[in-house]
């Protein structure tokens, strides 16, 4: 359904005065050669730490951020070559749910106007009654019932969970097929998280949706996705079926990450072994050539100074590491 090929998003980085005189230009390589596919009806979790480029990837696919290069094929068309009008059509099929439900809703709009906005800007319905019914249905879909109670309210009058439901209703009202969910529950309380994740799963089944689920939380990815792609500094380190990646990570970075994920079980937490790595994730400016993880990798060798390619080492499992070969 969706195929991303060698996607790159570079932002010009601030250079010092002297550097600019010398004609040095530096780039933040937020996304630097990312490729993956998502099948219809599948949930792919894009997991990474801050600065890994996961959100940038998600937004670049929808062209909310213009990619520097690459291809994004959606139902047979390259999204990156669409003109303005075609892009508008595309956005009826591909939508996004943002991380922060406190910021993604216009504080001066009513819930009705927020949810109706996609209908209005795309001129979906001719009559106000049709629009009203569609908004009511969308609010029912996200279990904000009775919808009449919510339509005239403002975002600040709703709880965090309710706001995220509104954001989901807005994303779904055009009946898209593909949704980028950018950390949809990370700002919510734990008891609300599960409600929203359940809702997203129900809606996925009901409307046959496909999700790109962006998260920093591997445990959450495990519960919500069919496959996981792990990103580090703008590149994908490993892709594979969720359960296999979690129980048997192949890439050293994934191994390290999984060994540090906090476990909500004190006994298991005590008994597991953490893999020690030096330092912290650097910023994606002026990265050295070779494997991104090489400077910190506990298993690094000489060969790692060359850039590894993402290759299939076992059926369905793709790893970008010189040391992991089939």
């Amino acid at each position: 359904m969706l195929e991303v090929k060698d996607l790159r998003v570079w932002f010009p980085a601030r250079t010092s005065f002297w550097q600019s005189l010398k004609g040095v230009s530096r780039y933040v390589k937020a996304v630097d050669g990312v490729s993956f596919t998502i099948k219809r009806g599948e949930v792919l979790a894009l997991v990474g730490e801050s600065g890994s480029g996961k959100t940038t990837t998600g937004k670049a696919i929808l062209r909310l951020i213009e990619p520097t290069s690459g291809e994004v094929w959606f139902e047979g068309v390259n999204v990156l070559s669409l003109n303005k009008k075609e892009l508008k059509e595309f956005r009826r099929k591909a939508q996004i749910i943002f991380q922060d439900p406190f910021e993604s809703l216009d504080p001066r709009m009513t819930i009705y106007d927020i949810v109706a906005e996609p209908l209005k800007v795309n001129k979906v319905y001719g009559s106000a009654d049709e629009e009203y019914d569609a908004v009511a249905k969308a609010l029912e879909d996200v279990r904000l019932v009775p919808p009449e109670d919510f339509m005239t309210r403002f975002p600040h009058e709703l709880s965090g969970g309710q706001r995220q439901r509104v954001a989901i209703a807005r994303a779904l009202i055009l009946r898209p097929k593909f949704i980028v969910a950018d950390e949809p529950v990370s700002m919510l309380d734990a008891s609300i998280r599960t409600q929203i994740l359940e809702l997203m799963e129900d809606l996925r089944k009901e409307y046959g949706l496909t999700y790109l689920f962006i998260t920093h939380d591997l445990a959450q990815a495990r519960y919500t996705s069919d496959r996981i792609a792990v990103m580090y500094l703008g590149r994908i380190m490993e892709i594979g079926p969720t359960e296999e990646v979690v129980s048997n990570p192949l890439h050293p970075y994934t191994k390290v990450l999984i060994s540090h994920v906090p476990i909500p079980d004190p006994k298991l937490a005590k008994s597991r072994k953490k893999i020690d790595v030096p330092g912290e994730t650097p910023s994606p400016i002026d990265l050295p050539p070779g494997c991104r993880f090489y400077p910190r990798c506990p298993f690094a060798r000489e060969v790692c100074k060359e850039e590894p390619q993402l290759i299939e080492v076992e059926p369905g499992r793709w790893v970008s590491c010189h040391l992991v070969r089939s």
């Binding site: 956005r91 943002f98 910021e103 216009d106 009705y112 996609p118 807005r170």
Partner: protein, 292 residues
């Protein structure tokens, strides 16, 4: 039908929400009361004035008396009547001049902030030019070119005063356009003008609305000053005009206080009314300033 009912419900809620918070501000209520008092005075002028403000009805420079509570001016006109009619002029000029200047400024600021780049540079340099020019001489030049008369005074004030709202609107727009809800609107297919109209304008409006009160104060003071130094329209009895005649006829040196103090007080009180209304509106419309 359902949609219309919904709109009405929303409108009612917006008004009642606003009033619920505004009500808690004593200062704001006082400001509003002052403004409403002046509006009533302006509307009712023909019915409550004891004399025709253009007619000589007594001897010049009469002291306050039961017949003429605020005395008479240099032509023997009733000063109380003149003051009440003056409310019409001052309010009208204050409101229209601030409306025009805020409209110009907001439009310039919105366009500059939202589209950025060259548009921004050109519009903002223009704004800076206006800011750097001394305001009073500029107004005087405009009035001299356009000629006397209320409308020309309004235009002169607007042309000078729009820059502040342009700056405010621009800086708000710059921060608003980076907010996630704008990105969300873009994601559902909204174009630039739709975003500007549906999201930026409604969020800029409350702040500008609060600011417009200050613009009214400025306009009222500017009008009074222009009239006072002789650039006003002698046929309209504005407060500044009364002061102009008072100074021309030597009311100050002769101790005719009733010719000077009442119009001064009228100007100050109305300006104060708008100023404290602005302060309270700021509190209500910008929740960040609101005390928890």
């Amino acid at each position: 039908m359902k949609g219309l009912k919904l709109r009405l419900r929303v409108l009612r809620r917006r008004v009642s929400n606003f009033w619920r918070i505004y009500r808690t501000s004593k200062l704001g209520l006082a400001g509003l009361a002052i403004i409403l008092g002046y509006v009533a005075l302006a509307v009712m002028a023909p019915y409550i004035t004891p004399y025709d403000p253009f007619e000589s009805v007594a001897l010049p420079f009469e002291e306050p008396s039961p017949q003429h509570p605020l005395g008479t001016d240099h032509l023997g006109r009733d000063l109380l009547s003149e003051l009440i009619y003056g409310t019409r002029v001052s309010l009208m000029i204050g409101l229209t001049a601030s409306f025009i200047s805020v409209m110009i400024g907001t439009t310039v600021g919105l366009i500059a902030g939202f589209f950025g780049g060259k548009v921004d540079t050109v519009l903002m340099r223009l704004t800076d030019t206006f800011i750097q020019m001394p305001q009073l001489p500029l107004m005087l030049i405009f009035v001299s070119i356009l000629g006397k008369g209320i409308l020309n005074i309004v235009l002169a004030i607007s042309v000078v005063a729009w820059t502040a709202s342009a700056r405010i609107a621009r800086s708000l727009t710059l921060s608003l356009k980076e907010r996630p809800f704008v990105e969300a609107a873009r994601a559902v297919g909204a174009g630039s003008f739709q975003i500007l109209w549906r999201h930026i304008v409604p969020n800029v409006f409350p702040v500008i609305f609060a600011y417009a009160n200050i613009a009214v104060v400025d306009a009222i003071l500017s009008e009074s000053f222009l009239s006072f130094i002789g650039f006003g329209d002698p046929r309209t009895p504005s407060w500044g005009m009364i002061l102009y005649f008072a100074s021309r006829s030597g009311a100050m040196s002769n101790g005719f206080w009733w010719f000077v103090i009442p119009p001064g007080l009228m100007i100050m009180t109305l300006a104060l009314g708008f100023a404290i209304t602005n302060y309270s509106l700021d509190q209500v419309l910008n929740p960040r300033l609101r005390r928890r």
